[in-house]
């Protein structure tokens, strides 16, 4: 006959296979760290509520960036401070899921300050676990928004000065002034009594979400023995003596009793509805206009398209990628451009492949489409031996120097000008490329135009431009 057993929760992996290195049994946290204690409390709650299969924990940036090593449930690791935004998406897309956004003080109160503010204000039905250790722990103990007055950190060597760095931010108090949040409590991971209070608060916050009541947050004052240069026991005392007088423990908001559950209406989109919404329904039905495979040397091309911003190099790439997709290829399209709408330089990288594509990066292109001189100068040396360079001879006053590649010189801007619109030079070049290589049909390419060309009256002109490019090569 035995009684209750307190043991490692099922919501933890038995062995942390995702953790690199030989030791897969212990966490990567320092001895005495508060993260482990909180992880245990959360994992136990997941077990007890029976929600392991529908829980998603969001690892932030900070020491707990690797929380996904440990929790045997859904895991997403988000960009710095963006966990509440990611949580919003996860929860809204899967209202049945239990979404826990786990964040440190630098993450939630500095870089992600507006993210948490807006998520709380929208009343997202998520649970935020906010680990407050008054510094940036992972990067070596710099000042955080929650650093105490006078506290010495790497970036406040003389102590935090309110005239210079302002006062420690009390996030629980701040968020509790908002209407939407349902439950907000501050706890401390110090002695047994406070740890058990933290346990109770975390369970209540998760329950609040399970019951569809709305936004809940638990702020846990948490020890960082390494960052504070203290022993694990001293660190817990430091919380009691230094942090708790300023960050007062307690329930800052609790509407869980009176709050009516809100379950968002189910919105299920069919494929055809989605196509209609994003405007591709009109072009459906022209798919799989795949032709005979092109000559071997033109297959599976990695393409770099470069020019001035405004020359339509991104659109050229999009038309190629979309056309390739419709023809049944695997494709990627990766743009790279400056902040300018016109001028500046732009390039994009397109891969069209018979096989799945590992990376969309094109550092050594098989095909270079250069719309202006700087693009040819910059990318010519990168083209693979035996590759193809198509250059806009209207604007480029030299031929490529490479002798080991095929070259098409096409006065694309002049041809476009003759059609009455300089800006369709990109389509002239596109026409020359498909005619030269046979990778796509004209039909496949122009079937994509209704997506990219907003002014429908310009579609015939663009089609004509493609034909001119084809004629240049074939004629």
């Amino acid at each position: 006959m035995s009684g209750k057993i307190l043991k490692k929760a099922d919501a933890f992996y038995d062995v942390y296979e995702r953790k690199p290195g030989a030791d897969k049994l212990t966490t990567h946290y320092c001895p005495g760290c508060g993260h482990g204690t909180l992880h245990k409390i959360i994992a136990e709650a997941i077990d007890d509520f029976g929600i392991k299969d529908r829980t998603i924990i969001i690892s932030p940036v900070g020491c707990s960036v690797f929380a996904y090593y440990y929790f045997d449930c859904g895991n997403v690791q988000s960009a710095h401070g963006r966990a509440p935004a990611v949580a919003t998406g996860l929860k809204r897309a899967n209202p049945e899921s239990i979404v826990i956004s786990y964040q440190g003080d630098g993450d939630i109160a500095a870089i992600g300050g507006n993210n948490i503010l807006q998520a709380a204000n929208r009343g997202e039905n998520i649970t935020v676990i906010f680990v407050n250790n008054a510094i940036y722990g992972m990067t070596g103990g710099q000042m955080a928004p929650t650093t105490l007055l006078g506290q010495k950190t790497m970036t406040t060597p003389r102590g935090r000065n309110p005239h210079n760095e302002g006062y420690p931010l009390r996030l629980s108090e701040l968020l509790s002034t908002l209407e939407s949040p349902v439950y907000i409590e501050r706890v401390a991971l110090t002695d047994a009594k406070n740890v058990l209070k933290a346990r109770k608060a975390v369970r209540k916050a998760i329950k609040c979400q399970i019951e569809n009541k709305g936004f809940s947050m638990v702020e846990a004052l948490s020890p960082c023995p390494s960052g504070w240069r203290a022993t694990p026991v001293e660190a817990r005392k430091w919380i009691e003596e230094k942090m708790m007088p300023y960050f007062k423990l307690g329930v800052y908001k609790d509407n869980t009793k009176g709050k009516e559950p809100y379950i968002p209406p189910k919105e299920e989109f069919t494929t055809s509805e989605i196509e209609k919404i994003i405007g591709i329904a009109a072009t459906k039905g022209k798919e799989e206009v795949r032709i005979e495979p092109p000559a071997a040397r033109y297959r599976n091309p990695a393409i770099k398209i470069a020019g001035f911003g405004g020359q339509g190099v991104l659109l050229l790439g999009e038309a190629l990628a979309e056309g390739g997709m419709r023809a049944g290829y695997h494709v990627t399209w990766l743009p790279s451009y400056g902040p300018e709408m016109r001028g500046g330089t732009a390039n994009c990288q397109v891969i069209i492949s018979d096989d799945p594509i590992g990376s969309p990066l094109v550092s050594a292109p098989d095909v270079l489409i250069a719309m202006n001189r700087p693009s040819l100068d910059r990318f010519e040396p990168d083209v693979k031996k035996g590759g193809l360079i198509i250059f806009n001879s209207s604007l480029i006053d030299r031929r490529p120097q490479r002798a080991d590649v095929e070259v098409i010189a096409i006065p694309a801007t002049e041809i476009a000008d003759n059609l009455g619109n300089t800006r369709v030079a990109n389509m002239v070049v596109l026409g020359s490329y498909i005619a030269k290589t046979g990778i796509l049909t004209k039909e496949a390419v122009i079937s994509t135009f209704p997506i990219f060309i907003k002014r429908r009256d310009l579609i015939p002109l663009n089609e004509e431009a493609v034909q001119k490019g084809i004629d240049w090569v074939e004629g």
Partner: protein, 83 residues
Amino acid sequence: MEHVLEEVLPRIEICEEECKGCGLCIHYCPPKVIEASPSLNSHGYHPAHYKGEGCIGCGICFYICPEPGAITVYMKPSKGEKR
């Protein structure tokens, strides 16, 4: 035939390889029945070690310990559970 040792309850078990020697359980254990082992584990820590008797099954060491699997607490059956 077989001699089954009766389980001593309550008691704790410490996985010494999962212990980082932070000392929190030792400090916060109410009956002070945990001590630092004089030997080192493979990570180079002096792991916590149960003295072998005196556990009151309060569970404080379990919740105060940051390592998920280092401490397991076997509590006494509560009165309702007893036959």
